[in-house]
Symmetry: none
DNA sequence: AATGAATGAGCCTTCATTCAT
DNA sequence: GATGAATGAAGGCTCATTCAT
């Protein structure tokens, strides 16, 4: 009985999140009204508030969902990499692939970084981010110790490796660039590797 | 007499823009009300509309002002560079220096890319951007022809050279990173140069 | 089996009324939501509607319960009075004692006279009030006839005898007065007696 | 120019307060919508919020206005009293007269004591109340010192003298009593005087 | 050029109540 | 009897913009 309820509840939540992804990426978070979400999700105002508390709850829920999906996918694919070069390139390549598979979600994550989330949501986002970063650094530390990857200030790695492709992708989701990230992934993977390869690399 | 008036008009415009820079970076553009701007600028609602037409007029005016200042400064400093390496490094270094000198404006430009500007403002921004890009490419073309800089898809250069330091700066203006961009400029300049140096470089 | 059910039903009703007394006196009737009552009573929304029909049903049920308790107690204690003076004083004293023993209920009765009850509830309240008043007047008539109590417009007796202590109590339940009614009961009993004693009093 | 503005502003404020008095006493504060106030006052929603901040601002503004009018009138009329008895009786009589002259305002003050005001409004109300009470006590102190009025706990005077007529008036504004307060003012004045007259009274 | 009262459409959110399970 | 997801009407409030002075 409770499983039926749970299934129904989950379906409703999913329907609302899907409606939100569509509306938020099309019109923007602020410009999307609760009424539009209701219409799109096929539910009542009250139902949205029952499941998400308020509008910001939907926006942050969707954001967290996207970030977690992206992060988990990267960690999964890094497991199959052997060398420093493969790993650095994989960071770029996986990003392009994920964007290719989840264009709407990518558009949401890239376009609405500045949504003003509640303190609670911000904490959860930060926690998620820190755990992910820690796992990533655990993976790369051996390569840095062997100087296959250059030693840099810790905070510089992500901007240098991922910054360019994210910048490119941000332009692309806005329609400012024609070629999709997947079409330039090797160029950016090459640039990332050159930017951080160390003297110990083969 | 008209000069006095003009001076007064400029002072009023400046006061409003300064109030806007403060409010917009502190609370965000959408969250800032005209009433707050009035209070901060020490003027009336009507005065704001007299000088800027509407709220978006302030936001886009401020944005354009910042972009133009940043762009002009880069072109000026590139004139003093001799080699490809100097030039590529200068793109990163000038960015850091400008941020150091204009932290509030930097925060505004970096945090509110997604302001929904009017068609007119968008056109003006695009035009400004294109002219700037064209001037930049004119500067770098000889280096690319001599293969001192790698040949890449045209749209890849900006993300690869400027993407990392912009990404870093975006985190910094939000308080997520401790070290200011100026403290890491050489690391990022080095990475940028490694990422695009071509076989023809010395 | 049905007795077990009945016991359970009564317990549930009592739990809801206790929750209501707490919430209503703390936050006010209008400001209390059904959800809060559920939380406080440890039951579901549906359960509340099953037992009380609607929100007003709880408020009026609680009100009626309090009024009846207060009235019955007064009539009981008047039976032990012999003289006009004892009787008039008892009206004040019993009020103070009852408040001392039922502070929460007193707070509810005193603070929320203006709850908008349904027609049915209003009728029941009026009927209760009239029966009570009639019984009270039956008790006092002999004293008035003997002029031990002054002859006044009928509607003046309650305000003159009970008005002051009720006014005092209303302030006290709101925390505006320090001394509890029980600490000033003799002063108010004396004043009440002086206000209505007739030439026939000893 | 500013005087014209001020006059206009005052007229608008007055219109809103008059509409509020009508709606609040007819339907109750909670049940009155801003829309109804707009209609009644002949102004826009925004105008109401421009002048009063929010709904509670209207309710507390009206309350304060009523209280101040009532208080000022009492102090004025006490000036013409010579003796303790005249003064005590005047408290009751003035109350009845004021109610007779301001029935609507009286109804508002008597029926909606439990409006939940903001902290600011509560402070202002308390301050008003304390100043008024202090002035009243200054007036009566000599009579108490001469024992023309009985010595009581300070907090007991107001309930004992004013409590009965206020209680009566509360019933009357609700339509529960037929005779208006002005018709019974001498009875209540007499009772009040008897309740507090001291051994030193003539 | 400046002022600020006035406008009013529109939105987020609340919450009593219902009802399928 | 119990549960709690769903409903949706309704209302308080915001705020960019206008315009008479």
């Amino acid at each position: 009985m409770s499983s039926i309820r749970a299934a129904s509840t989950r379906a409703r939540r999913t329907a609302i999140l899907e409606a939100a992804l569509d509306c938020f990426t099309t019109r923007g978070v602020d410009a999307t009204t609760i009424e539009e979400l209701c219409h799109q999700a096929g539910c009542s105002t009250g139902s949205i508030y029952h499941h998400f508390g308020n509008k910001e709850g939907i926006a942050s829920g969707l954001f967290l969902h996207g970030i977690r999906s992206l992060n988990a996918d990267l960690l999964r694919r890094l497991q199959h990499c052997q060398t420093a070069e493969q790993s650095v390139r994989m960071v770029v390549i996986q990003y392009c692939d994920w964007i290719h598979d989840n264009p709407e979600l990518a558009r949401y994550l890239l376009s609405f970084r500045d949504i003003s989330f509640s303190a609670t949501a911000r904490l959860e986002l930060q926690s998620t981010y820190h755990h992910h970063l820690a796992a990533i650094f655990r993976w790369f530390r051996p390569f840095v110790l062997r100087e296959e990857i250059r030693t840099l200030p810790p905070e510089a790695y992500v901007p240098i490796i991922s910054g360019p492709i994210q910048d490119y992708a941000r332009h692309w989701v806005r329609g400012q660039f024609q070629l999709p990230p997947s079409a330039v992934k090797d160029v950016f993977a090459e640039a990332a590797w050159n930017a951080v390869r160390g003297p110990g690399a083969g």
